[in-house]
Subunit: 131 residues, 2 copies
DNA sequence: GCTTGACCTTCCCATCATGGGATACTTGAT
DNA sequence: ATCAAGTATCCCATGATGGGAAGGTCAAGC
């Protein structure tokens, strides 16, 4: 399987597959005589693993750890769970921050007439001299 | 006021002030004879404005628009409100995505024993052949 | 006056994950 | 033989920020 097919089948772009290889996230693939990368089902499996983990918001470094646990049959599930829960915490933190921004901004927008007049509490608040 | 004092007073690092100037987000400041940047209260006001808007998650390009409205006394508050509401939508979208990730991951983690055994539904799900 | 340390200047590089594009080669089908 | 599509390697860009080097400036203390 060439890189394009692996990309389609895994949902990871060819560009990214090459990049993952360059940073050692996936091992260097076999090459054809002409230098084309060749992917096995096992390689594909790893790419799909990465794609899933990205969809869950894991960073490539977190995925590096997950991959090594995934490939290590002697792993303890506690190690995996710890990474997952740490990431849940990160997600919660970011959700909290974004929610706070949204609430503040929504209430500012709510108090703005939204008409042709220049008077605007949003700009007034942004421009206030101190926090 | 030198850049360091402006940085402290506005909460924007000196690095960032220079960067904002380089991309034309703030106008080039006056310079002393020796080339030091000099900031007025008005400049400081604009930096604080930017800082606030960043805290609300606006991108620098959005802030560019907000600043020009802020400085334009003939603005319509509707224009400001539109930008704010569009940003609220973006925030909601990101919150939704992150919440979805968190829920998926939390439920996976929940189903994982988290003990010394290798058996782990988290890795199993990440590694499953198809979406 | 001279030293010292804190501050300022510009310039380059790094981050993180991804995409765009240039140039050249390979493959497979007509 | 030709042509399109695929692939290879490079370099560059993003957005917002920080780090650091090399050199100039300022103010305080001796």
């Amino acid at each position: 399987m060439n890189i394009g097919q692996a990309a389609t089948a895994s949902g990871v772009s060819a560009k990214m597959i090459r990049y993952y290889e360059s940073i050692g996230l996936v091992s260097e693939s076999r090459r054809s005589d002409s230098g084309y990368r060749i992917y096995s089902d096992k390689d594909l499996h790893a790419l799909r693993f990465i794609k899933r983990a990205r969809n869950l918001g894991f960073s490539l470094e977190q995925i590096r750890d997950l991959l090594s646990l995934w490939q290590n049959n002697a792993r303890a599930s506690a190690d995996v769970k710890a990474i997952a829960l740490a990431h849940v915490d990160e997600l919660n933190q970011r959700i909290r921050e974004l929610s706070e921004m949204r609430d503040t901004l929504a209430s500012l927008a709510d108090s703005c007439h939204g008409d042709q007049r220049p008077d605007c509490p949003i700009l007034q608040t942004l421009g206030k001299p101190c926090h």
